[in-house]
């Protein structure tokens, strides 16, 4: 049963780095788990607590927020704001008895295609280990 579990992971990816990196991974013919559903955002600073919570509420097993390397945000500090919000969401999840590891923030640059494939795999493995979300409407 556990082997059959195919997680649903929402990946909020910044247009300037992670999304481009995912694109590059594709161009490089690198494979990464198909369970990651990518949502392009103009900057991870656009991601609010409610976006992540809604993903979990709607049944996502995991959420990854992928933004630029720290200090290299196209909008200067969007990724640092996202980092704080991810931390806040993890605290909420912990308080309501959901594994906080289901929500993770990654930082990478647009040139890091292989790294994108790596973090996507890493995220899928983490969620497979935790198991399916118990939140199902």
């Amino acid at each position: 049963m556990a082997d059959k579990f195919e997680p649903q992971i929402i990946g909020f990816c910044c247009k300037y780095c992670a999304y481009a990196a995912a694109d590059l991974a594709g161009s490089m013919r690198l494979s990464y788990p198909s369970c990651i559903k990518i949502v392009q955002v103009p900057c991870t600073g656009r991601i609010d607590v409610i976006h992540i919570l809604k993903a979990i509420e709607e049944g996502a097993d995991g959420v990854m927020v992928a933004g630029c390397l720290e200090g290299e945000c196209h909008f200067l500090t969007g990724n640092l704001k996202a980092k704080k919000r991810v931390k806040y969401v993890r605290k909420i999840l912990e308080d309501i008895g959901i594994e906080p590891e289901r929500v993770v923030m990654f930082n990478l640059s647009s040139a890091m295609g292989p790294r994108f494939a790596e973090i996507a795999t890493e995220m899928a493995d983490t969620i497979k280990k935790i198991g399916p979300s118990r939140v199902r409407s």
Binding site: I50, I56, S137
Partner: protein, 224 residues
């Protein structure tokens, strides 16, 4: 404005777990500005509660609504037609809003979702500090616009106590001594002589010690 902070979610879960249909009611005023009970916080809390109860396998209806104010009859009337559809209302307004809603919807249980803290200012995004204790007889004119009632731990009226050191208060080294601030400002205003004037005994009956207060302005009242 009134400053409040969100109650721990665990406490809220304990309070609401017995109710099947719940309305989370936000307020568009002070609690929105201090990011404790506005539309956004209503959404976040509603989502977190839905996640929790779904995970527990408990079926619950959790709806969201945010009123312009919960301390005014006319805005509270906006939920008149839907209030009885809920087993309880979880209000994210300050203590005033929660009580006013409870008075208006007498048979619906009301649960507070925030802790009302003080009257304060937006120091910076995410930081609020106390500025007023609503003592009912303002003395800011002679204290250089800095309030020793709300900003001095001892509420002393005639200069700093012995616990003032290098401009900071003895209860917390981060906290400015209110009287140091008053003296500095009076000096900058060229009014340091005012500091020598002994303050008259303060009228405390206008403060809470005189019991619950009421302000009436007959000239603006609509009813005869």
């Amino acid at each position: 404005m009134i400053i409040a902070e969100k109650k721990p979610i665990g406490e809220i879960i304990q309070e609401v777990k017995g109710y099947k249909r719940l309305l989370i009611l936000g307020c568009n005023e002070c609690v929105t500005v201090c990011e404790a009970g506005g539309r956004k916080e209503v959404g976040t809390l509603a989502s977190a509660l839905r996640i929790y109860f779904m995970k527990e396998g408990v079926e619950k209806q959790i709806d969201e609504r945010t009123l312009e104010r919960q301390c005014d009859h006319e805005y509270l009337e906006e939920i008149r037609d839907i209030a009885d559809q809920y087993d309880a209302i979880l209000s994210l307004a300050c203590g005033v809003g929660v009580q006013f809603t409870a008075e208006k919807y007498h048979t619906t249980p009301l649960i507070p979702g925030v802790n009302t803290c003080f009257l304060g200012a937006n120091e910076q995004r995410g930081v609020w500090t106390e500025r007023c204790q609503a003592c009912g007889s303002c003395i800011l004119a002679r204290t250089g616009g800095i309030c020793p009632i709300s900003r001095c731990a001892k509420r002393v009226m005639n200069g700093p106590c012995g616990g003032s050191s290098k401009g900071k208060c003895e209860i917390n080294k981060e906290l400015d001594c209110a009287w140091q601030l008053i003296i500095d400002r009076l000096r900058d205003l060229g009014r340091l002589d005012d500091y020598e004037i002994v303050a008259p005994i303060k009228e405390w009956s206008t403060e809470r010690s005189g019991g619950p207060r009421k302000v009436v302005r007959a000239d603006v009242q609509v009813s005869a």
